[in-house]
Amino acid sequence: MTEDVESFRLRARAWIRANLRPLEPHEILAPTLALPVQTEEEEHAALARERELQRMIFDAGLAGIGFPREYGGQGLTTDHQRAFNAEIVGYEYPARLQAPSFSPCGAVLLDFGTEEQKRRHIPAILKGEEIWMQLLSEPSGGSDVAAALTSAVRDGDDWILNGSKVWTTGASTADWGLCLARTNWDVPKHRGLTVFILPIHQPGIEVHRIEMLNGSTEFCQEFLTDVRVPDSDRIGDVDGGWTVGTRWMFHERMLFNSPFVSIPVGTSPGEVGADSIVNVARDTGRFDDRCVRDLLGEAHMLELVGQTLRRRIGRGVAAGRISEQSAAITRLFAGVSSARKATIAFEIAGPAGAAWTADDGAAANCGDDFLMRQTSCIGGGTTEMARNVISERVLGMPRERTPDRDRPFRDVPRSASNRA
């Protein structure tokens, strides 16, 4: 019998309080957009701790809430995940292991993996043994996902991959990657793709860190040279990668509403939360300023609306009342409102937004967060792409002209300087 949401909540609560460390105020209060710049040793230590925490959560029977039991999960629902997300607020938890490992990567494995692939990898993900990342974007253009140039050529029982992926979050510390590659150049772009899984750290893959404008080095570019992938590590059909890719992007857009991912309520990785904006107001002594109160109200409003919108869309999709493409609605809202909140925090910080010291409390870093503002509208697919999906797939408006649709991908123009 399925555990009901309330008893699950109480079980999770009891375990969390008994086993996890409550966060220090500064750990909760600090705006989270600018990931603290860490040395490699610090990064590895933090990650090791997160793996350990994930193992504890797994052993407690609280990991992989939405994953089926036969793969080590709990076989529960989005409502159970939501209850967990509410209980974990204010406690240490393995944030970096959630996305993209659990979803989209784990979710895609669940949807398309062979029985063997699922049994091998999903429990390992849930135990914190495997960290996954997405080898999706390429230097030639991330929005046009189906235009991947990284190629995979069949060689006996193996495939040989060559190419480059970019903007990969956390590749330098991850174990496995989900990779979209081109297996057929003589058909239109959507029909010549295949998805593979591969270990990141192996000969033939060079991982380079890319510094972001706030100094963070979690971004990476990978160069793949003659990387061998056994056919048993293919996900889905040969040349059927777009079917997998569409689902992949659906999971990505549903991230904050996923039955697979633990995200403390009111926070999302890479976002200035309304709570931290309240602290900016307090730490700058501007709580009584009418303008500031207006802005604080706006930030909190956006957060409440975002939460209720995610719930509506999540329920609607789950119940089959609205199309899965509607996930783009939450993606668009999250991107725009997150950017707006970064602006609000920056506005309230006043001159501390220009120059700050550690004494400025929550107001420190607001300037850096503002510089990084647009990440929320780019990562996970841009807000422009979300708008295209909403207008074309949800509202049924005419598709943009795409001269590449019916042409063998080999003949498609790829840049102004390199027209085919």
Binding site: R282, G297, M301
Partner: protein, 379 residues
């Protein structure tokens, strides 16, 4: 509105939808522009028979809801009011009926019965406005003299005051805010019609000049209306929002259809990416408006601790983003969008007037801020 209505709720909603379609088609709504009351008493009485005024009233007093959540059920009716740009004092009558059922005394019972039957309507003197900084409008004052309540002052704008038999007035007394149910024919009450941006609703300035009433006219305790008012405000905001969301839904649907039908430069408007992206924004805002007001309605029904902030978030969001949405609908219609002949303005009016009632978006953002501040202090 709720994506998943129960079949009972669906039947209930649909009954009102069909009634409004036949009784107040758009041509009728237009003609109400010159109607002194803005609605016909028979129309309101028949609506009351469909349950428009009973959802916030306890069963013991002759009311009762469909799902057990009276406000949630009422939002389905209010939504249809918005969809049809329908007339009628839905907000004030329900606020007053709900209040009298929960807090009213024996003396108020006949009034409650007539509201339930739809044979009379009530006005609600909301005030002293959403007071965010203690500088709200003075509003009426009351005192007890010779065993009677004495009321003086002005309140405006009061919806349906000119059509109401009773007005629930909020006044400042020595001990604090007080509520009094005032029959509109009492000596000293004068009601001056105001102009409004809405075609079907009527607003008035109400003056109380030495109005004297027996103490039984008090609703709740003297000087102790703060909580009551907060509850009324939450009801009014959620019902008004649901109307606004219904109006937004219709405006959006009309505009989307228009974008497919209208051609420029040999292609439909719907094929231009610039407009497609605006529709995507509109769709996102619209879904968000539905989502947040549904959550607010459920929170008020459940007396949930986050009801206040959700209600204000809904009012602030729908007020701002809803107004932008419907104005953008006007923009995408081009010239025809600003004509009286076209229907779009009927929805624009509803959303616009509702934005300004019961606290502006800025007022409600400040209220949220106060909630946050109190939470911080308690933490």
């Amino acid at each position: 509105m709720l994506l998943e209505l129960s079949s009972d709720q669906e039947i209930f909603r649909d009954t009102t939808a069909r009634f409004l379609t036949s009784r107040v088609p758009i041509s009728e709504v237009r003609s109400l522009r010159n109607h002194p009351a803005g609605f016909d008493p028979d129309y309101w009485r028949e609506g009351a028979e469909l349950g428009w005024t009973s959802l916030l009233v306890s069963e013991e007093h002759g009311g009762g809801s469909v799902s057990g959540g009276g406000l949630v059920d009422l939002t389905t009716i209010a939504h249809e009011f918005g969809v049809h740009a329908a007339p009628g004092p839905l907000v004030p009558t329900n606020v007053v009926a709900g209040t009298l059922s929960t807090f009213g005394g024996e003396a108020h019972r006949p009034v409650l019965e007539s509201l339930l039957a739809g044979t009379s309507v009530a006005a609600w003197c909301f005030g002293p406005a959403v007071d965010t900084d203690g500088r709200g409008p003075a509003g009426p004052r009351c005192r007890i003299a010779d065993g009677e309540v004495v009321l003086d002052g002005v309140q405006r704008p009061v919806e349906a005051a000119g059509q109401a038999h009773h007005i629930l007035v909020t006044a400042r007394a020595e001990g604090g805010l007080t509520q009094i149910l005032v029959p509109t024919d009492t000596a000293g009450v004068s009601i001056e019609p105001m102009r409004t941006a809405d075609l079907t609703r009527r607003f008035a300035a109400v003056t109380f000049d030495g109005v004297r009433l027996p103490v039984e006219a008090l609703v709740g305790e003297l000087g102790d209306a703060d909580e009551l008012l907060e509850y009324q405000l939450q009801l009014a905001v959620v019902i008004g929002n649901a109307e606004a969301v219904g109006a937004l839904q219709t405006a959006f649907d009309m505009t989307l259809q228009w974008a497919f039908d209208r051609y420029s430069f040999g292609r439909p408007l719907a094929s231009y990416q610039e407009l497609k992206h605006r529709f995507a924004d509109q769709k996102t805002w619209l879904e968000a408006c539905h989502a947040v007001n549904d959550a607010a309605a459920a929170a008020v029904d459940d007396r949930s601790p986050d009801a206040k902030e959700l209600v204000s978030a809904a009012k602030a969001f729908i007020g701002d983003y809803g107004s932008e949405l419907v104005q953008d609908c006007v923009q995408i219609h081009g010239g025809i969008g600003v004509t009286f002949e076209h229907d779009l303005h009927l929805y624009l009016r509803r959303v616009t007037v509702n934005r300004a009632l019961y606290g502006t978006p800025a007022d409600h953002r400040q209220r949220i801020s106060t909630v946050l501040e109190n939470r911080k202090e308690r933490a």
